[in-house]
Symmetry: C2
Subunit: 279 residues, 2 copies
């Protein structure tokens, strides 16, 4: 089977590396010639070019571009595909992507390999990035079953744990565990930044330790990524933020009214609930 990868960054490059090492022919496309040259040089792909037309021979194509580029890329790619070519993507939000791309190409399987590093770009591509990580596949009722199975088989070859659900379920679940944490964490830093007394700010910056470091980490991440998930998963993110605000108001209420029993009960439930997560 010939594999195509459009977008040779951390995710596309790492998928390419792993599949090449498992004996597949992997062909890459990047919009930049320099990336193509480098990808061939370090052996991430068998061949690479800047022309989507070179994807004609691929049986399964991974679209590994940022979210906003997926639909336009598929539109340009379609003239070069045979009807049984399977398309899949690796975007971190699924409902709008699956809705848009399924209309363009019936043989599309939405996917989300949940792995990464703090690095990006082709130089960041590594082997075994997906081993033991979740790989969510989000077919609709219309997605051809054999295409879903094909993508899941490749995901398992990468060593990932495959989860299958609808695009809406995916987006609601990742709003909770990925997108809401970014916003709650960013708000922590934004709030601290509003302290008007510079002596307090200076002292706080020196006293900050692992608790602040961990709680603020994802909020201090890539701003473009934060905006992108807010744009694409807006409805689910707003829903989770609204529930978060209600929970916050209740907690503030307990402290205002000195209802220590209620606060302790909340923190006990929190401690227990967290143990159910696969952390």
């Amino acid at each position: 089977m010939n594999i195509g990868i459009v977008g040779l960054g951390l995710i596309g490059g790492s998928i390419a590396l792993d599949l090449r090492s498992r004996g597949f022919d992997v062909f890459g496309v990047s919009s930049r010639q320099q990336t193509c040259d480098r990808a061939q040089e370090i052996g991430v792909v068998s061949e690479a070019s800047i022309h989507l037309s070179d994807m004609a021979a691929a049986d399964l194509i991974f679209i590994c571009t940022p979210l906003e580029a997926i639909e336009p890329i598929v539109q340009k790619l379609i003239p070069h595909l045979s009807a049984d070519t399977i398309l899949t993507d690796v975007g971190s939000v699924k409902t709008p992507i699956v809705k848009a791309v399924s209309c363009l190409w019936q043989n599309f399987v939405g996917g989300h390999p949940m792995a990464g590093t703090t690095e990006s770009g082709i130089e960041a591509a590594v082997r075994d990035l997906f081993v033991g990580r979740p790989y969510v596949v989000t077919p609709t009722a219309e997605t051809p079953a054999h295409s879903v199975e094909q993508v899941e088989e490749i995901a398992r070859l990468l060593g990932a744990s495959v989860y299958r659900c609808g695009p809406e379920e995916h987006d609601r679940a990742v709003a909770w565990i990925s997108h809401l944490p970014i916003m709650a964490s960013a708000t922590l830093v934004a709030a601290c930044d509003r302290e008007g007394d510079r002596d307090i700010v200076n002292l706080a910056q020196h006293l900050a330790s692992s608790g602040f470091r961990d709680t603020s980490r994802v909020g201090g991440g890539n701003p473009e990524l934060g905006v992108m998930v807010a744009k694409y998963n807006r409805v689910e993110l707003l829903r989770s933020l609204s529930i978060y605000r209600d929970s916050l108001d209740e907690l503030i209420g307990d402290i205002e009214t000195e209802n220590w029993q209620a606060l302790e009960q909340k923190l006990k439930l929190t401690q227990q609930a967290r143990e159910n997560y696969n952390l």
Copy 2:
């Protein structure tokens, strides 16, 4: 100089270990005979007893009990002290402690060594726990200067970086970097726990990764500790929570109105602001 330690847990035990190894006589008091026996057995203290009267020979006494026990312990301790005995504590909130204890004993220096592990109790005591960690000393205008210097000297002997500020400044700074993070983090888990669809909860629990793990960590910690900081640092915590809620409302507003430029600006400032913390 004779050192007394009241409360032989992680902090008291670790201070004792370090000071013994630097040649001080360290006498410990615990309310439980078993803890006294164990502290002597593992060499944390030179001697230990359950009687506060045995603190009479100490020149400097560290009160290393939970916050709520500090004032009652000092009341019981006073009849056994000579006027030049220096008292200090290690409580994580300072204003109410300094206010209460300074009235009882003039020679009291509030302190907060900011170190710990996830363990507790005498068995958790370790050497060099305070090396490179902040040790905040919070005198008032009435605190005798030589007593402040004495406590700071010992803090430096432990390898800590000493910060001196008023109790109110300490409490405002730690509200930002320690107590607010606990509440923002706990609220994340509490909000997720309100998702009504069990399939989504199950999926979210499986997909949760390092972002959720880090952001929820301090919120999933010891509930008694969370209630204690809320009780003792209530005013400053409420102030920081109120500013946090305002910041959250603004961020939600940006997403609701699709003001992506404003959101990106916020997240960029957040990313920059976080770099000023000593993490």
